[in-house]
């Protein structure tokens, strides 16, 4: 931009990464902790807000981008990862962070999750997992326990095994897999920083309680414990996940591999391409 005004460069505090909008979240929602930790991480990395793009689908946690001062995209349900992929592939210099919930990411967007893991585009995916659909007022999500009878839509429980996001991510080929807790802001900010700095697809499951529809999740703070020791050995990571009770936190797997790279070719002009159609008699 030629007309770019010379702005005074100074370090931004984490509150400078927050927008003036008041979140729609309920008081006590775990997502506040994620917003705080994320803005802390961005400030600590001194990432200019204009170089950050937060991409989300639909759900309570998918409202997060608008609560920051970065570029944001709040799209349709389940498609945060494709939007983030298109942006990250075509604008690789940006820090692209997809955010959303367990329903958005593992149910309606489940297919994109698997393929994002194996595609390994350089982006970060934060899933705020509360094992419930909050925005539609309390239905079971893929990570809900099979015997949860708190929803009118599945009054006798889901009759289904809960989805295991970390195991799925590892099986599908994600090179960075972590879990954190929204009530442990420092560890969460640290893991988010690691995830953003990781060169490739970095997946973080954030346990983020829904105090409105799952008030029993208030007790998560008693159940969460440190446990994962980062490894680059896939077998060890699987073993750690076999022993996991769903509340271990930390980075369970970190194994950098070559990022997704689109095809490259020698530069050719459009006239040369068009010449390929010409009939030479």
């Amino acid at each position: 931009m030629n007309s770019e005004p010379q702005l005074q460069i100074q370090a931004l505090a984490h509150k400078d990464y927050k927008s003036a909008y008041k979140p729609v979240w309920c008081a006590g929602c775990g997502d506040f902790g994620v917003l705080n930790a994320l803005t802390k991480a961005l400030a600590a990395m001194e990432l200019p807000p204009e170089q950050v793009a937060l991409i989300a689908g639909i759900g309570c946690s998918s409202r997060l981008p608008a609560y920051t001062r970065a570029y944001g995209f709040h799209g349709v349900h389940g498609r945060a990862l494709p939007v983030a992929t298109g942006l990250a592939v075509s604008r690789p210099e940006l820090a692209v962070i997809a955010t959303g919930g367990d329903g958005d990411g593992f149910s309606i967007g489940g297919n994109h999750f698997l393929h994002a893991c194996r595609r390994n585009v350089n982006l970060t995916y934060l899933v705020m997992d509360n094992a419930v659909y909050g925005m539609t007022k309390g239905q079971a999500s893929p990570t809900t326990e099979a015997d949860w009878t708190g929803s009118k839509l599945a009054p006798q429980g889901t009759h289904q095994q809960p989805f295991q996001p970390l195991e799925m991510a590892l099986a599908a080929g994600a090179p960075f897999i972590a879990r954190a807790f929204s009530n442990a802001p420092n560890e969460l900010a640290h893991i988010i920083t690691e995830a953003i700095q990781f060169p490739g697809f970095a997946f973080v499951q954030v346990l983020s309680p829904c105090i409105t529809f799952r008030p029993e999740q208030m007790h998560w703070k008693k159940r969460v414990h440190e446990g994962f020791v980062p490894t680059a050995d896939r077998r060890e990571a699987f073993m750690a996940l076999m022993d996991d009770d769903g509340f271990s936190t930390g980075i369970v797997y970190r194994a950098p591999r070559e990022c997704y790279r689109p095809d490259t070719a020698k530069a050719v002009t459009l006239a040369e391409i068009a010449a390929g159609f010409e009939v030479v008699s």
Binding site: M1, S3, E4, P5, L7, Y21, P48, P49, E50, Q51, A53, L54, I55, P65, A66, T68, R69, A70, Y71, G72, F73, H74, G75, V76, G78, R79, L81, P82, V83, A84, T85, G86, L87, A88, V89, S90, R91, E93, L94, N111, H112, L114, H115, P262, D263, T264, A265, K266, A267, V268, L270, I273, A274, F277, E278, V279, V280, S281
Partner: protein, 597 residues
Amino acid sequence: MTGWHVRNLGDAVLAHDVPVDVQRRFHNCSLALIGSGGAGVMTAGQILLDAATDAGYFGLMTRSTGPQIRGGEAAALVRLGVAPVACQDDRIDLLIALDWGKAERFADEIVLDADSLVIADPDEGEPPEWIIASDAKRFAVSLADLAREHRAARVNTIAVGLAAGLLGLDPESMSTTLRKLFESKGSRLVDGALAGLNAGMAAAAALPAPCRLAPAAPQPRWLLTGNEAVGMGALRGGVRFCAAYPITPSTEIQEWLAARLPQVGGCLVQAEDELASVNMCIGASFGGVPAMTATSGPGFSLMVEAIGLAVATEIPLLVVDVMRGGPSTGIPTKSEQADLGIAVYGTHGDAPHLVLAPNSIGDCLVTTQWAVFLAEALQCPAVVLSDQLMGQARAAITPPPDREWRAERRKAPAGRGNYQRFAETPDGVSPMAIPGTRGGEYTATGLTHMPSARPSAMVADHHRQLDKRRRKLFRFDFGAHWADIEGEGETGLLTWGSTTLAAREAVERVREEGLAVRLVSLRLLSPLDPVKISQALAGINRLLVVEQSHGAQFLRHLRAHCDLPARTQSLAEPGPLALKPGRIAAALRILSLEQAK
């Protein structure tokens, strides 16, 4: 609705529809090569088209196959001419069958008459009943024996030789083309191909020619498919990102772009599904990179939600739908114009967007380029409706012009904050901040929003944003390119897309008989401009609306927006076979008789 379907009137009129015009047979010739899938008919057709093109002719090859990957029935329909050839003729001058495997399936598609010539190998047995019933002159040529006599020759190159000999193509030019096509495969294959060609041409010398082409006066031409033309138009318009999921008959667009985008600094991502591909394009375009996807009906259905998102977030986006027979899997390898409804009306909510359609293979380039320009200028999605007929047809055409249309998005400069992404402007288009631009940070959202992009559920905000998005399209001057308007007359023919190809030839035929017809082919299908349409139809007192849709989707679309002449009739036929010029000419004649009553 006053329209009736011409097909209900019986075939009495059609039987005398095609006058045997000897002159025309020097102007152009029609050939069908048929055989089992894998027998090499498509290759043979392509060699013939390439060779005729090298020799200075214009031509068109359309493919007719079943949905099988290998096997099944296959036909290459090739029409060659000394002037541009837009569509297939009603009838075939020359049919060469490599075998009769499943040939009964072509009974409706390949029309033979007493002037047609049929060549087949007697060892392949009796031809199917429809061939015998056609009264075509039949000749036996032992293709397999010829192949055995000329070692290394293949049956399909012998067929090429037969066709070339019968149509009067220059042997020298044929050999040069064959050498060029086979040279990368080694001298043995070159020798085999030449031996086949010569054997075929020698056999042709003993046969009566059904049709001989006049010598060509070579002019500049391009040889390409409609799908390739779409790709070229997208690049010229400025597309630099494509995400796509394979689907017949659009895959060739994706494959063509996969090789070319990296050459111009762009890239293509093969997505996991169409939900992903369209959203990836939205992500790239949000990032400032002009983006497109290509698909067909079933994939387009999956993209519709995201198209609404692009309307609400005002993200430029190009979606090319190469239509096929539907609904559901339908007939994936054959054509229909039945996605007009979903393209125009498919989105939920009020979501003004652009729907355009090319009306020739060359126009696949021009209209796609225009669509990129419009989507970027108006910050909205543009849907381009091509179809299998144009997309997979390969043609030698007059080179399409390079128009001035380039992606030019109105962008916001860096600022000091308080950026209003969706600011209200007189033309409705607001400067768009691209990530990386300091001070332009905003969150694009599918929620109803204020000019600042802040979500809102207020009545006034909803109405203002709806008005703004509508204003963008309805205040824009689309210029003269919205339609092709050709000829004068009190009879009008209104059509769109690939149907225009046969309609043009039909209009030409009836004009020679003294019936003057004005042809109007709409390129801009949405938004429709009723004023421009009524100006284009001024002076017309009887109108034929022609389309390839069982439900007359085009007619219904027109009726919803425009006043049509009282005497408006509909020729709406479903796919999967292309409407032929004779069918349309017959409908025009009936319409003119109707007037005289």
